[in-house]
């Protein structure tokens, strides 16, 4: 995502007339492109119960947004071409954590601009290109919260430090192959510095058009990670040591009459992922330290449709589901081991939303969730009123 640079002075001579206007800002013409995302919500939940999901141990920072008013992630993104070979991008997020504002380095990467043969290399900290939604920043999501599969199996989003290589085939059919070597700090890995490479991914994407009105992309991916005392949980932590592997399939289908999305358009999106974990789980490792062998499979999927029925207005519907089949040798009652062993609940959720975008830079969204992700019959009726504003440089979103 680089800005198209215009050599201000050169253009000025060529064009003649607007010389003064262009020359005036030539002094800061090399400043990077900066954008600030302001994001916040009002949330209401009918249930006060802790937001856990039976059949999985949730990763860090996967709790619901706080009830009432809250500012979400305020995100400052800076990007620029560094020279003719490299482009740099950094996103700094200001987040609320227990009443304190913490600064998190969300992304900080360099990507190549001029490798031959359709190759591109990216290194630093980045969102992985596995899945469809994973690489999107939260403000570009179609709903206010992550799909249940992402929340339960990927800790909302897979992000890590490492290196990514992509190759794009020189064909009319879109075909992209890629892989990543990662540090292994991003959930569901938790490398703890034991190995140089704690996780790796591979992905393939194909896509194209069907007539003038339809376009699609299909993805297939795999994640392989190691965990060495991977910690998660709020008050009482849970540790996991072992292997975590995920395979996934994602499909997005977009429709717009004659490819003109201005007035009406439809986006269908579905993803399926299956995680297999094998190792040892310890509940409260710094206290009671109840330990159990654990071998489990979890399957998560969602399907959603978002329809723009007139300029600025969209409606969306999403269905989420999770199922698990876990062997937990020692499911100590009242601990996360018992929660993990509870694999017959099939957590699910139905969401509906309507949003209004006055321009490409602003969006207001009202979302309703009937959330049964805690398992059992108890439903949590959730209402989220969200705003997303983008200040500064013009966004260019990927498909």
């Amino acid at each position: 995502m680089f800005r198209i640079p215009r050599a201000a002075i050169g253009a000025c001579i060529a064009i003649g007339a607007p010389c003064a206007a262009i020359a005036a800002d030539a002094g800061n013409a090399f400043n990077p492109k900066i954008s600030l995302i302001l994001d916040g919500q009002y949330a209401h939940y009918s249930s006060e119960a802790e937001a856990e999901v039976p059949g999985v141990v949730l990763g860090p920072e996967t709790e619901f947004a706080p009830k009432g008013f809250s500012v979400g992630e305020t995100e400052l993104a800076i990007e620029s071409n560094i020279d003719d070979q490299f482009h740099g991008w950094a996103t700094v997020a200001l987040e609320n954590e227990d009443g304190d504002t913490v600064v998190a380095l969300e992304e900080a990467y360099i990507n190549t601009l001029a490798l031959p043969h359709g190759l591109a290399l990216k290194f630093g900290r980045f969102f992985s290109d596995v899945g469809y939604q994973n690489h999107q920043h939260a403000h570009a999501w179609e709903f206010a919260d992550a799909p249940l599969a992402y929340r339960a199996l990927l800790g909302n989003q897979l992000k890590d430090d490492g290196l990514q290589l992509r190759w794009l085939a020189p064909t009319d059919l879109y075909l992209e192959l890629g892989g990543e070597l990662l540090r292994g700090d991003g959930f569901p890995a938790g490398n703890d510095g034991e190995d140089d490479i704690g996780a790796s991914t591979a992905f393939a994407h194909v896509g194209g058009d069907l007539g003038a009105s339809n376009s699609w992309r299909l993805g297939l991916w795999h994640f392989d990670g190691k965990a060495s005392d991977r910690r998660s949980g709020e008050d009482i932590e849970t540790g996991f040591s072992g292997k975590s592997r995920i395979s996934g399939l994602d499909l997005v289908w977009k429709w717009a009459p004659n490819g003109n999305a201005n007035v009406r358009n439809l986006v269908l999106q579905a993803e399926l992922m299956r995680r297999s974990e094998d190792g040892t789980v310890v509940s409260d490792p710094d206290g009671a330290a109840d330990s159990s062998a654990y071998n489990g499979d979890q399957l998560g999927w969602y399907a959603q449709a978002v329809y723009q029925f007139m300029p600025r207005w969209r409606v969306g519907l999403r269905y989420d589901r999770l199922s698990a089949s876990n062997e937990v040798a020692n499911p100590v009652a009242g601990t996360s081991l018992e929660l993990l062993a509870n694999d017959g609940e099939d957590p699910q959720r139905v969401s509906a939303m309507v949003d209004f975008s006055n321009s490409e830079f602003s969006r207001l969204r009202l979302q309703f969730n009937r959330d049964e992700s805690r398992g059992g019959d108890a439903a949590d009726n959730q209402v989220i009123l969200q705003y997303i504003y983008s200040v500064g440089a013009h966004p260019a979103h990927q498909f």
Binding site: M1, F2, P18, L115, L168, D172, K254, A261, H394, A396
Partner: protein
């Protein structure tokens, strides 16, 4: 490992494909696709990324576009940030250094014309303003002629073996074009001084050429769809300063136009905006023929 081997095999097979002899050109907009075709003939293989039925401000960075971008040897776009919402996304995924800005395979048409409406201040409260001026330069035929010459030089630079062909084609095109321009200017004389309302500020170059006066736009600010209140205010403006026509493009929302036509009695004129925006406008000559004809027909049909 198996995956790596498959990767390697696919890479080998696809990399071994013979390169086509014709110069592969990726045109962002239909006008540049048509112009490259007119100048390049069988020496070029043109792919046009958008159609006149689409809003070129808002194109999805679709996989099919990324695949074409990857193979391009020359990119021909309006520039001036018209494609800012999608071209950077194609570049990020398209892994094609040949057509990067500043490289020989990058041609920005707007650099070769005099831009209008360069904003004095840049403020998003003014809507989706373009800092380098109004980018819809293709609506005046003089701009097409201004772009044709450097474009032919660009083609000659990239495909030196056919340089003479490109220059000859440009000279021939220019002769025909200048004659056509004289004919259009003559024919369009009744349009001089006519007041119009536009759906979006898409035709400032056309209006400047023909002496048409733009009283208002239905969009309150560029890129912001008109609300009921905005339409009422346009209607109030029209009471004080009568206009003859409401001008819109095929890709634009028809409903605000209909709303205004019903209440004001103005004649609605759908203009092609880009080649292919109306039947029989695929080449640049027909594009301006139809544009002038439709404006004249609208004027003839409008109430006095």
């Amino acid at each position: 490992m198996k995956l790596l081997r498959t990767f390697g095999l696919a890479f080998g097979l696809l990399a071994a494909q013979p390169a086509s002899a014709a110069l592969k050109v990726f045109a962002c907009e239909p006008e540049w696709g048509a112009l490259v075709q007119a100048l390049g003939g069988s020496n070029v293989e043109v792919y046009t990324a958008t159609t006149a039925l689409q809003d070129v401000h808002r194109i999805q960075a679709r996989p099919s576009l990324i695949a074409k971008y990857r193979q391009a040897e020359l990119l021909v776009c309006t520039g001036a940030e018209l494609e800012i919402g999608w071209l950077p996304a194609l570049a990020e995924k398209g892994n094609n250094p040949r057509v990067m800005p500043g490289k020989p395979g990058w041609f920005e048409a707007s650099r070769h014309v005099t831009m209008l409406e360069i904003p004095a201040k840049l403020d998003r409260a003014e809507g989706d303003v373009h800092p380098y001026g109004n980018p819809h330069i293709q609506t005046a035929p003089a701009n097409i002629a201004r772009v044709a010459k450097p474009l032919a030089e660009k083609l000659a630079e990239l495909d030196a073996a056919h340089a003479a062909d490109y220059r000859a084609a440009q000279a021939q095109f220019d002769t025909r074009w200048q004659a056509a321009m004289a004919k259009w200017s003559d024919k369009a004389r009744p349009l001089q001084g006519v007041a119009v309302v536009s759906a979006h500020r898409s035709w400032v170059y056309l209006y400047q050429w023909l002496g048409i006066r733009e009283l208002a736009a239905l969009e309150p600010k560029p890129g912001i769809p008109p609300s009921g209140a905005q339409l009422e205010s346009v209607l109030a403006t029209l009471k004080a300063q009568p206009a003859k026509l409401v001008v819109y493009a095929a890709y634009q929302d028809r409903r605000p136009v209909d709303w205004l036509v019903q209440r004001s009695g103005l004649a609605a004129v759908e203009l092609p905006f880009s080649p292919g925006g109306a039947p029989g406008t695929d080449d640049l000559f027909a594009f301006f023929d139809v544009t002038i004809d439709r404006l004249l027909r609208g004027l003839a049909g409008s109430k006095p």
